[in-house]
Amino acid sequence: MAYSDKVLDHYSNPRNVGSLDKSSPEVGTGLVGAPECGDVMKLQIKVNPQTNIIEDAKFKTFGCGSAIASSSLATEWVKGKTVDEALQIKNTEIVKELSLPPVKIHCSVLAEDAIRAAIQDWKKKQETGKPVAAAVAVQ
């Protein structure tokens, strides 16, 4: 099956490949996988604690062209959005943007999962981060 031009574009020039410091309190990491195809996708966001705006996003995906394109697009889309706005991104929007065929819908699902998982990880750090910061200050 032929990939759409947009998939090919993201696949050959993926945006935002790389990683952010996993241990930073401003960084949320989502690692997700689809057993259907054995793909794994890691997506990381760096959030400004004052504004809740996602200032940077990186990804690394091992999988097919559609999975790479979906995660590449996801990093583009979350950048500049607030955390709550990013949570509104739906896999169907990714399907539409990339013209993914039905057999590749799970790739877009994976990208949505990765965004949510990264945000969840970041939120968790915000809840637990404060007492830890206080403890450090006491030391």
Binding site: G33, E36, A117
Partner: protein, 240 residues
């Protein structure tokens, strides 16, 4: 009449002599019959079990393939030729599926209404609707492992391209591959235990056992999928 018999559900009597028909041939006149909409177990008249008598399956397969082979119907009318072709292709699908224990398990789960390909999407939709974090169908520790090994494989691929592969990395990846193969064997063993438990739960009509074995099998199959793909990728890189 022709329209009636072309629908296999419409009749359980032989299209030719009107006697009660069997799944593939009429008991009375021996003519080939249109396929019945039955599951693969019923196609072979085998009990619907995961612990299957594979010898019986094999015997049934050879017997039926001899009798159903389209060549035997070369001089029959077109409708019979078509039915023998349909029956033969059903026979091959059914045999291939039931012979392989993994495929058999996946097939049984499908009969139970479990679409392995749909789990991830369903879970995502549920998470979105409830605002809860999605339950990943693959455990996080396995995902970490898959991700890290993929990073190493990527490095090795790049090194090989330059013709300077690092022996320490090759050794490390080889070691992990052995571990994965052990894990794979352990998963298959656990699956075998599940087959027995499944057949028992079905026989005894214990629905809660049945559900818990079903979920266990889904989990094992998902893990197995990852590990199998990963071993395949490792082999590709090591042999390149």
């Amino acid at each position: 009449m022709a329209t009636d018999i072309s629908n296999p559900v419409a009749t359980s009597s032989c299209w030719s002599c009107g006697e009660m028909r069997a799944a593939h041939f009429c008991h009375a006149c021996g003519r080939v019959q249109p396929p019945l909409p039955v599951d693969y177990f019923a196609f072979f008249s085998l009990p619907k079990k995961l612990n299957l008598d594979t010898e019986l399956l094999e015997r049934g397969f050879y017997e039926l393939s001899r009798k159903l082979h389209p060549d035997l119907y070369a001089r029959s009318d077109q409708q019979e030729q078509e039915w023998s072709l349909q029956q033969s292709s059903l026979l091959n699908d059914a045999y291939r599926t039931l012979k392989d224990p993994i495929k058999r398990t996946e097939y049984m789960l499908r009969l139970e209404g479990v679409e392995l390909e749909e789990q991830s999407k369903t879970a995502t939709e549920k998470a979105r609707a409830t605002g809860q974090i999605k339950k990943q169908v693959v455990p996080p520790d396995l995902l970490e492992e898959v991700f890290d090994l993929n990073m190493q494989l990527e490095e090795l691929r790049a090194q090989k391209k330059l013709g300077e592969d690092d022996p320490a990395l090759v050794e490390e990846i080889g070691r992990q591959k052995l571990e994965l193969e052990e894990k794979h064997a352990a998963l298959v063993e656990q699956l075998q235990t599940c087959w027995k438990a499944w057949d028992r739960a079905v026989d005894s009509g214990n629905d809660s056992d049945r559900r818990s074995v079903r979920d266990k099998m889904i989990d094992l199959l998902n893990r197995r999928n990852y590990i199998r793909n990963l071993v395949r990728d490792v082999n590709q890189v090591l042999e390149s």
